[in-house]
Amino acid sequence: MQKINYITENFGKYDVFSIDSYMNIGGFQSLQKAIDMEGEDIAAVLSDAGIKGRGGAEYPMGRKWSQARAVKRPHHCVICNADEGETCTFKDRELITNDPFNLIEAMVIAGWAVNAEDGYIYMRAEYSHLRPRLINAIKQAKERGFLGKNILGTGWDYDVHLYSGAGAYVCGEGTALIRSIEGKAGRPRMKPPFMKQSGLFARPTCINNVESLSIVPHLLHDAVPYMQAGTKESIGTKMVSVGGNVNKPGVYEVPFGITVRDIVYGLAGGIQEDHKIRLIQFGGASGKISDDRILDISYSYEDFAKNNLIIGSGSILVIDERTSVIDFLRYTQDFFLHESCGQCTPCREGNRHIRIFLEKIKNGTYTDEDIQTMKTFARVMPMSSLCGLGETAQNALKSAFDVFPEVFASKTQTEAVG
């Protein structure tokens, strides 16, 4: 199995509280390069590398930056979304823990590329223990003139502010995130207006995930190893968070194209006590599920799409045979029932009733009509919810309809067979 350290190249190589230590390994040289480039050319580098948003939405990052630049309104800002809240997703935690200066450098490059005046890092409250290292990194970067007034003699002023989330998964959604920074409860709002036009404090806003940003300084430094990794359609590497019933849960950087088996049985050490796999969920709580037929599929956007799966945030949650499909779905539903912001009817009420139906299935007290009603709401809810949470909350359930149809079998049929 090929070992690759591209995004994670700096891990363990410098003192994360010392900018000197970071600069000794070449830190902020990519920023030096960037300010000699036009923003459009920086965006082009991202586009060439085919980077899709690593938070889960998979929006092409180069295009995002290019569009952000094109917005003619003043006072642009950049947001780093460090609110990773998808279950079994903890890759950004590792990036902030082990390479905080790289993230700050990326924030400055992003600011330069999209002409921003301010950068904001919105980090989930659960990572508050990482605040000191980011505060320190911002402070030291400012002392060295990488932030603040007239950065590197360019005449450009730019600051980075660190904001804390307060325990709300939905704040990973862009519009909820900005509301949280604006001092409100993080309930998403309608789009349009789109973030790039009118986002944080009604300013043009370009929002990126920690991992997406973290790639940028590396790409500007040396894109070759990245471009050589991966597949034709999924270039480079990805940070994956593997958890659940595996022997070695953790964050791994993998090249796209590696098989799921290599990740689960190789990197993550296989299943606890050699149990069989019941299901794997990819991309967090809002991701879809598969059974072990996925093991020999390559981990890439294209092959996943063919199998009705999504890479999303890069989480890989492995559930072994000790947990039933219906229990897994109940747990997932509990998560959304807790995390729905509650403002739109389909999501607030839909999650609740689907949870009730799942309970009935678990207890065997359901009727065929219940299954039909549940399927209707599992379809209606994503169609009509206000934001991405409601849209994706039933992804696991809907994929379970396809992968594990027997779980939802009609009672009359079951009885006939039984």
């Binding site: 279950t87 223990h129 307060a166 409860a185 958890g243 849960p249 897994f328």
Partner: protein, 165 residues
């Protein structure tokens, strides 16, 4: 017993601490979430007493309804007093499939409390929380911002709790 939050009285010392927090946030009402988190850190029971919410609303100034919305919306902000060492047990799938039920049972048994109650000395409460991003340490708990895990045996749980005695 958890103390009665309505009996909470705001001292001059707390007032000046809150003033300082407001100063640190430039009296900027858009930073209310950060302000509330900081104020909560100043209260030994890790919550925002009603009196403190009223005080912040008056001093910032900001409408109380916005503050109340934030306190009730965000999981990390609490309306009711908690133990000095609130034990947040992760209740997401990764921890559940790693038998966090056993962990929860051990905690309840060792501490003699359930959800919503506090140990006799005001030290511990147990709370279920959503995934806090420590699935590589499942099953895990988080106490005052530090993650502990994996906690698979009662002995591990006992050792953990002893740290706080």
């Amino acid at each position: 017993m958890i103390e009665d939050s309505s009996k909470f009285e705001i001292t001059d010392e707390l007032k000046s601490k809150i003033e300082k927090i407001l100063d640190n946030h430039y009296h900027d009402f858009t930073q209310i979430v950060g302000i509330l988190l900081d104020v909560q850190d100043e209260i030994p029971q890790h919550y925002i007493p009603k009196a403190a919410a009223f005080y912040i609303a008056e001093k910032l100034p900001l409408k109380l309804s916005v503050i109340y919305d934030c306190i009730t919306f965000y999981d990390a902000l609490n309306e009711e007093p908690r133990g000095r060492y609130p034990i947040e047990i992760c209740d997401s799938v990764a921890c559940k499939v790693n038998d966090n039920d056993f962990l929860l049972g051990s905690l309840k048994e060792l501490l003699g409390i359930d959800f919503g109650t506090v140990t006799y000395d005001g030290r511990f409460t147990i709370e279920k929380v959503s995934c806090f991003g420590a699935c590589d340490r499942a099953p895990a708990v988080r106490i005052n911002k530090t993650v502990y895990g994996p906690l698979k045996t009662k002995e591990q749980v006992r050792k953990l709790l002893e740290q706080f005695v």
